[in-house]
Subunit: 412 residues, 2 copies
């Protein structure tokens, strides 16, 4: 079944609110195996809404609208659909009684406008609204299905789950399922080149996407409930054969969650000494609930004085090689490891910009130090982008070194 979503509301077009309904509905429809090919946002304007309905009617079997069901003169979705389909609006007794009850409950009197909400295009199946006064409805006509829902997510979501989902379930046997593999350490085009043959598949599909500093591959399978998981697993293991250690997480998991979980599993502790990331590394680690079990101490030694006096980096190292150097990164990681009495020490030092760069040490040059009981690893990075991007990537590279170490993978 081909479906599309039309969201009605001038506030969407003015950028005053964001369309979370389209995302929510699309996710649900995907699970039902319904192909959603278009989303449209249109204002509370009869002509333009009719234009959209006409376009949708010609290309889709299922048309879901959201918004424009309220009691004010602005709200015209229902009237426009009725007029578009040449159907009269007829009063629904139960809906009218519901409105009377609702206002009794909140101790107010309904206005004439409110009773507008008891009228529906002839032949509609009414969807009660538990959380507001605007009922929705489903209308089948000439092989097309209209599902008309209110705009506020707090009203739309329960209505969809209680009434629309079970209704649509009857039309589909298949389901769609996705799994996301998160990849760090190689670029999107490189990833694509490596898994190229897999990108041609039509079911499951494999699609690359760039995140903030990482790349994802999304595997999506369509089929019977019992089959989709196996279909996904087969493709996943092929991808894992190719990309192996570059895959650091699946689905919603973040790098910091993976690292904290691994530290907990191994019973190891980590301490951080940050210069250019300025606390971001510690912040990310402590974003994870329960991080206190593996992380007790971090320092932000932004100045050279702090690196020397508080962390104990050798003055000679700072003088001979500078703060942004492999030597300083190494000492920072080792010193914080011993200061905190931790199993592992992690450090960053670099030039996040926008100023402070020189020809020898340009903006984007970052050294990560990683001290372990066996040896200290140093990684040199040349990062691009603005300050925020450079700091974020430096943080990800640092955490990825810890992940690789804990997973027994190659670090440098």
């Amino acid at each position: 079944m081909k479906g599309e979503i039309i969201s009605v509301g001038t506030e969407l077009l003015l950028g005053q609110i964001i369309n979370t309904n389209a995302k929510y509905l699309s996710e649900k429809l995907a699970l039902l195996g319904i192909d959603v090919y278009f989303h449209t946002n249109v204002g509370d304007n009869e002509d333009r809404l009719k234009q959209c309905l006409k376009i949708a009617y010609e290309r889709s079997e299922l048309i879901i609208t959201t918004g424009g069901l309220g009691p004010t003169v602005d709200d015209i979705t229902k009237e426009t659909i009725a007029s578009f389909l040449n159907l009269p609006l007829v009063e629904n007794k139960e809906a009218k009684q519901e409105i009377i009850n609702f206002f009794e409950r909140i101790g107010q009197k309904p206005t004439e406008n409110n009773f507008k909400q008891a009228f529906f295009p002839e032949g509609s199946r009414i969807l009660p609204n538990r959380n507001g006064t605007a009922p929705g409805f489903i209308l089948e006509k000439s092989g097309k299905i209209f599902v008309v829902l209110p705009g506020p997510p707090s009203e739309l979501i329960p209505m969809f789950e209680e009434h629309v989902y079970p209704y649509l379930k009857n039309f589909t046997k298949e389901t769609i399922k996705s799994r996301v593999l998160k990849i760090f350490g190689i670029g999107e085009s490189k990833v694509e080149e490596m898994v190229k043959p897999l990108l041609q598949g039509s079911n499951p599909t494999v699609a690359p996407l760039v995140g903030d500093g990482y790349v994802t591959l999304r595997i999506t399978a369509k089929g019977l409930e019992g089959n989709v998981n196996t279909m996904i697993k087969e493709v996943e293991s092929k991808i894992r054969e190719i990309l192996g250690e570059y895959i650091y997480a699946v689905d919603d998991e973040d790098m910091e969650e993976v690292v904290v979980k691994l530290l907990q599993m191994k019973g190891l502790s980590l301490a951080t000494a940050e210069s250019c990331t300025g606390g971001l590394l510690a912040k990310k680690i402590t974003d994870v609930p329960g991080a206190s079990k593996v992380f007790g101490f971090g320092v932000v030694t932004y100045s050279n004085v702090a690196k020397e006096k508080i962390l104990g980096v050798d003055k000679k190292t700072l003088e001979s090689y500078g703060a942004v150097s492999p030597e300083t990164a190494k000492e920072m990681a080792e010193k914080v490891r011993s200061l905190a009495n931790a199993d592992l020490g992690l450090s960053t030092t670099g030039i996040a910009g926008p100023s402070g760069g020189t020809p020898e040490k340009p903006v984007g040059l970052v050294y990560v130090g990683f001290a372990t009981p066996q040896k200290t690893y140093i990684k040199k990075l040349m990062l691009s982008g603005d300050r925020d991007r450079i700091r974020t990537r430096a943080m990800l590279h640092a955490l990825d070194m810890v992940r690789r170490y804990l997973e027994g993978k190659q670090i440098d």
Copy 2:
């Protein structure tokens, strides 16, 4: 001018990501006085994208597309627009060089796919991409304007601000201007009550909005270039009379920028000792370019051992009052101030949750300590929300104490 936005990406139709670009662009276009009548989301599919382009071409003068400019075979926006307009794709030398430079900078080799990004429909004006490899472009044809932008917001936003906004500005005479006042320390309904008469105005309008931990009032005036600033100023001074010291910043300025700027102006330095905020405070301060002039050192003493051994908090204090106590907050602020030899010391200690709360010390209880040469201030907070929200609010409260101190306002 009538405009519309077409966002390209199958991930939008699957509900995997939300379309923040359409919201962002709509807001900006509204400021330029451009009427946006439609948003469309469509997948990475040539036929369906062409359908959307055809519909848009017939009803709008300005068509902005987002997404589908990447190096992979999925990315077809540019190719589809060229084919729709019957224009050949021609190579742009500067863009090619940019790609070569980009990969040189990051020390990797471009693949054949990457060079696809140096081709543009004939007659395009190329928009450089500071934060990625996909340039955008503007194309004028038969009285229609196409603005073609990359999908990732971190690439789209700077490109729009630097190149597209100034370009579109030429087409409009009346201007809409906004000024945002940021308010911290009182809730939205209280703010609304206090400035109620001002909310009735139609030009300028004043609109309240809730941010993450703060409240904003947006003043928007419409008129000729020369008049709007005066119109805004008049309303602003009325609001300032009412809300005074609660207003901490204007427009895009953040709390941390205000604090760093004030520290720089006064020539004072700050050191941080964090427990529950876990590095967020230091991270926020060092988000501001040039923070190194006023911030040299911070610690994240997540464990009691670190508080005691490294920061020097008295063992007795920790034992008698616990880590989450006004006494510990006070010592943390004072100790980090002297350890760093800084003018000011700022500390946080609290329970960010989700677990770790007790009836006496529930999740959301946070103490902020602020040590100055004159005295040490302690603030007790009872914050609601999830871990992230509690940490963010604790950070804002801490920085707001510094702001108030530096501005000579009342602190507690």
